[in-house]
């Protein structure tokens, strides 16, 4: 073990840090875009029913193909990775935001309207809070996927935990493969836990019961 750390420690820690930042940056951008887009789509549910399936088609393009294509256009820069991960992360959040808001009962919206809330106030005080459980579920799905997709960054030589895995695969070094895979799994778990804490902080427990 100490031998391993002496040999790969530096490489591992820098890979973890790079990986972490890929995920955090991509998810942050993806969340902002998806959240706004989800709200916009919820204002026009008829068009959303056409737009959402089109976006979901992108999700079916293999990550490896997409990141490769983007590499050809954008070059070997970190933004290539971030753009690719962001695009993949958008859909689950977008879909859950949209569905969460659409499913808020008309009765609540009418009560809010009757109280004299403006459409924006209804959105921020009633619709978004009630859609929050669904939105956070989307965020968790995207985050966990992004941790694993970020491995692909190494494919175009841009670091992250994938670097260890690829190196391990090409040199037939199982220790290296595991050294990349285990931190990635742990990272996914930790992100998931962090989101759980966020959920507990944001949603009163009386609302959590019926919305997993």
């Amino acid at each position: 073990m100490s031998h391993f750390i002496a040999l790969y420690g530096k490489r591992l820690s820098s890979a973890i840090i790079t990986h972490f930042w890929y995920v955090v940056i991509s998810i942050t951008i993806a969340f902002i875009i998806a959240f706004i887009l989800g709200i916009l789509l919820s204002r026009m549910p008829r068009r959303a029913n056409l737009i959402l399936p089109v976006i979901s088609v992108f999700q079916t393009i293999p990550g490896i193909v997409f990141i490769g294509l983007l590499f050809l256009y954008n070059g070997m820069v970190p933004s290539t990775v971030v753009i690719a991960l962001t695009i993949y992360a958008i859909f689950p959040i977008l879909k859950n935001t949209y569905v969460g808001i659409i499913n808020v009962s008309e009765d609540f919206k009418e009560a809010a309207k009757g109280c004299g809330m403006s459409p924006f106030q209804i959105l921020m005080k009633v619709e978004v809070p009630l859609a929050l459980p669904s939105i956070i579920t989307g965020l968790r799905i995207s985050t966990v996927y992004t941790v694993s997709w970020a491995v692909l960054a190494a494919m175009i030589g841009l670091g992250g935990l994938g670097e260890l895995i690829y190196a391990g695969v090409s040199s037939n070094n199982n220790t290296l493969i595991i050294a990349g895979a285990i931190p990635a799994a742990i990272m996914a778990l930790l992100f998931s836990l962090a989101i759980d804490l966020l959920r507990k902080a944001l949603i009163p427990k009386q609302l959590r019961r019926d919305n997993k």
Partner: protein
């Protein structure tokens, strides 16, 4: 005062409100009632412009509501809907202070309002303020719904079947509470329901609607007495004092557990019977069971001491009716005459029973409260 002037609303082919004209006085508890689809809820929602009429104008205190900003207008009018209306993501305190916050009241004032209102319905602040709607019973939730509507002290409160989802007991209690609150705070309340019980219990004025029009607008008493048409009468159901359909006869109200004796009985025996049964007259029948008349204790005392039988003391002055005679005619005989009861005979002249003032009172009670057995 709320005033509708020629208000119409159309959804596709159906005319939901048909040239509606009405006035609701300040401080009055007005109930809109009618069959589903009659336009009562639409009428309510046009007041705070949740629904915009196609034609016509609505004035609140002589101000045309279409000229007031919608959002502002709604903040100045309380609104209560079925129990689902509380925001599940907010505590009781947050729910009640929704409108005050929209009006930018400061925190201290919001808190003061919440405390005052909770005290009004005897829900201790410490116990309830921080609960979420899902932690309370339907009745409690709806109390909060009412309080939320009152929070910014609006002069007008609209209620759209607020107690529809509650059990009858809770419903009754809340009706009484809201009536009390209304009197105490002197609010103008417009209340939609399809339950005539509720309307009669709460309203100063009932507006009965059908097919987008007002069929009748009257105080509960008057509507009970003179329902404008059969539809209203059927809504009143057990409440209406119904003197046209279902004519009732004397037989429906008579007591048949009566005492009688034959005309050849002795005076002493008759006195004993009266004493035993605590009555002051006896029905007397002939030997063939037909009605002979009555004998009273007064007659016996005045003349009967020396007589052997009651036969000479029998009088036929007591009012008589037949089983199939209209109950009203029978009651008239009872009320106009001196007698404490009317003898009801079968057509073969045998005694069927008697109608007393007690049976008459019971029949009135039935008509007013329904068949309480």
């Amino acid at each position: 005062m709320i005033r509708f002037e020629h208000v119409s609303k159309r959804y596709g082919d159906s005319l939901v409100l048909d040239d509606l004209n009405l006035e609701i006085a300040t401080g009055e508890f007005t109930v809109l009632i009618g069959p589903s689809g009659c336009g009562k809820t639409t009428t309510l929602k046009t007041i705070n412009r949740l629904i915009e009429p196609d034609k016509g104008k609505i004035f609140i205190d002589d101000q045309d509501t279409s000229q007031i900003d919608k959002v502002k207008l709604r903040r100045s009018i309380g609104y209560v809907i079925q129990q689902i209306g509380l925001f599940p993501n907010m505590t009781v305190e947050q729910n009640i202070s929704v409108v005050p916050k929209l009006l930018n009241y400061d925190k201290a004032r919001c808190n003061e309002i919440v405390r005052e209102l909770l005290a009004l319905v005897n829900m201790p602040y410490e116990e309830y303020a921080h609960k979420y709607p899902s932690e309370m019973s339907g009745g409690q939730q709806q109390r909060i719904g009412v309080l939320r509507a009152l929070a910014a002290s609006p002069p007008i409160v609209l209620m759209d079947e607020p107690f529809g989802a509650l059990d009858p007991m809770t419903r009754r209690i809340l009706q009484d509470e809201v009536s009390k609150l209304q009197k105490k705070l002197n609010k103008t309340i417009v209340f939609v329901t399809h339950d005539m019980d509720e309307a009669l219990n709460m309203a100063d004025k009932i507006i009965f609607m059908n097919k987008g029009k007002i069929v009748q607008m009257a105080a509960p008493e008057e509507m009970l007495e003179n329902p404008a048409d059969d539809l209203i009468r059927s809504f009143m159901g057990k409440h209406s004092i119904d003197n046209e359909s279902l004519p009732q006869t004397a037989a429906d109200f008579m007591r048949s557990d009566i005492y009688s004796c034959y005309r050849n009985r002795g005076v002493r025996e008759a006195i004993q019977q009266m004493a035993r049964r605590k009555v002051d007259t006896l029905l007397v029948k002939n030997l063939d069971e037909t009605y002979a008349g009555t004998v009273s204790i007064k007659n016996i005392r005045n003349h009967g001491k020396d007589m052997k039988t009651i036969e000479p003391l029998i009088t036929q002055e007591n009012a008589v009716s037949y089983v199939d005679e209209d109950a009203q005619v029978c009651f008239d005989k009872l009320l106009n005459g001196q007698d404490s009861y009317v003898v009801v005979l079968n057509h073969d002249q045998t005694i069927a029973g008697i109608v007393t003032k007690t049976s008459m009172a019971k029949s009135l009670a039935d008509a007013v409260w329904g068949d309480s057995q």
